[in-house]
């Protein structure tokens, strides 16, 4: 789906829990998710800490969108 949206002309970031899948299928801008059941969260943290984490991951996604990339790039956080 990510590739089709990009084909339509939009930069896309894939926040993906399973990195190898995203890489193999060929997403260009990739941000690792925290875990499969909660890619943008962590139930072990307090609500406040969790929101900070979510913000960090989304922040990385925005960084990916702000950058031109020559090829598939994983934006680690």
């Amino acid at each position: 789906m990510v590739k089709e949206i990009e084909k339509a002309g939009l930069p896309v970031v894939h926040v993906a829990s399973i990195l190898p899948i995203s890489k193999t299928v060929g997403a260009n801008r990739i941000v690792p998710g925290k875990a499969i059941p909660h890619p943008l969260g962590n139930p072990e943290l307090s609500e406040e800490e969790e929101k900070k984490l979510r913000r960090k991951i989304v922040g990385k996604s925005l960084e990916a969108l702000r950058n031109d990339i020559p090829e598939q790039t994983v934006f680690e956080w």
Partner: protein, 349 residues
């Protein structure tokens, strides 16, 4: 005395009746081999002989499938044959489809079938499970080799008592039939051996080839994210509570488009996950953990992004067929472009 009696199926051209002008020829039968059948009969020597040739126009077969099948089946039932051979059809589509149809008839009559075909011929993929298709080139230029290969396969088939073995061993195109068998060494051993070879940079053969995926050129960066309209999409199945569009928990056949209506934060009262492939507890407790609306709203307010798109899109990425995923992505992409969206964050579980 030949071991095997064969009925050979040919189209109107190879059956030497005519060309495109005779494409509407209804099924005919002749005793003995015709055209390429003669070469095949020779190549088979004493092992087998072509006792009958069935000829049908390519147009007729494909446009009158039921009648053609009935007639051909009749011809075969009247004859005393042990095997049916068809083609080679090379890359001729209608001919390949006809040969495939004949393979299906052979299977109904419990007769072994051998055909010659070019792998891209649609007749191969559609009918491969009904018989043995031997690979040929794409045109009549490869006739001689095709006939030789078919003859060789038939001889081996007779020797193997009708159980030729795997496609690689016996030289036929894969039929898509799964046959369980025991290997000598256990899987863990074979996997480790393969891995060691890979690490050493040595050659190894995979037991299961992976599909290859195409690549898309990365779109340029968003020039000014602080002014941009950004949309979120998820395959994690976050939908309004009650899953109004009934998106399936697995093998989703659709995606949903939902208006955020100014929602600042996803809650368990109003949203849920429809995804059946991960433990839903955390996503149901706080759907922002999969679709980060709360943070997107903060960033919108702070001017990090221009605006969060009023719609989000969701589907379930659990066993979703590649074809469906592609179609969803295409439609969603087109809509987003139409709505002036400039960047997308897509979350997956």
């Amino acid at each position: 005395m030949a071991e095997l009696k064969i009925a050979h199926y040919l189209n109107q051209f190879f059956g030497q009746v005519g060309d495109e002008d005779e494409a509407d020829l209804p099924p005919q039968q002749k005793d003995g081999p015709v055209g390429p059948g003669e070469a095949l009969d020779n190549a088979l020597g004493e092992r087998a002989e072509i006792v009958k040739t069935i000829i049908t126009g390519d147009g007729y077969f494909n446009e009158n499938k039921a009648r053609a099948r009935e007639k051909i089946k009749e011809f075969l039932q009247e004859s005393d044959v042990d095997m049916i051979v068809a083609g080679p059809a090379f890359n001729a589509g209608r001919y390949g489809m006809a040969c495939g149809g004949v393979a299906e008839i052979a299977a109904e009559l419990d007769l072994p079938f051998v055909g010659g075909i070019y792998p891209e011929n649609p007749g191969y993929d559609m009918y491969k499970k009904f018989g043995y298709f031997i690979e040929t080139g794409d045109s009549v230029g490869s006739m001689r080799k095709g006939i030789a290969d078919i003859a060789e396969f038939i001889a081996d088939y007779i020797d193997a008592d009708g159980s030729p073995g795997t496609p690689e061993e016996a030289g036929y195109l894969p039929r898509g039939i799964r046959k369980n068998f025991f290997r000598e060494e256990r899987g863990a051993r074979r996997a480790v051996d393969m891995l060691v070879k890979k690490i050493k940079g040595e050659e190894f053969e995979t037991e299961y080839p992976m599909p290859s995926f195409d690549r898309v050129d990365p779109q340029p960066a968003v020039p000014d994210l602080g002014e941009a309209l950004v949309a979120v999409v998820t395959t994690g199945g976050i939908v309004p509570k009650g899953n109004p569009d009934k998106i399936e928990a697995s093998s989703a056949s659709k995606f949903g488009k939902y208006k955020l209506n100014g929602v600042q934060d996803l809650t368990s009262e109003e949203f849920e996950t429809a995804h059946g492939g991960y433990d839903p507890v955390y996503a149901n407790e706080d759907p922002d953990r999969v679709l980060p609306i709360d943070v997107m709203r903060d960033l919108e307010e702070e001017g990090e992004i221009g605006e969060l798109h009023e719609y989000y899109y969701a589907t379930v990425g659990n066993g979703t067929s590649v074809a469906n995923a592609k179609a969803f992505g295409k439609e969603i992409g087109e809509e987003l472009v139409r709505d002036g969206v400039q960047a997308v964050i897509l979350t997956s579980t």
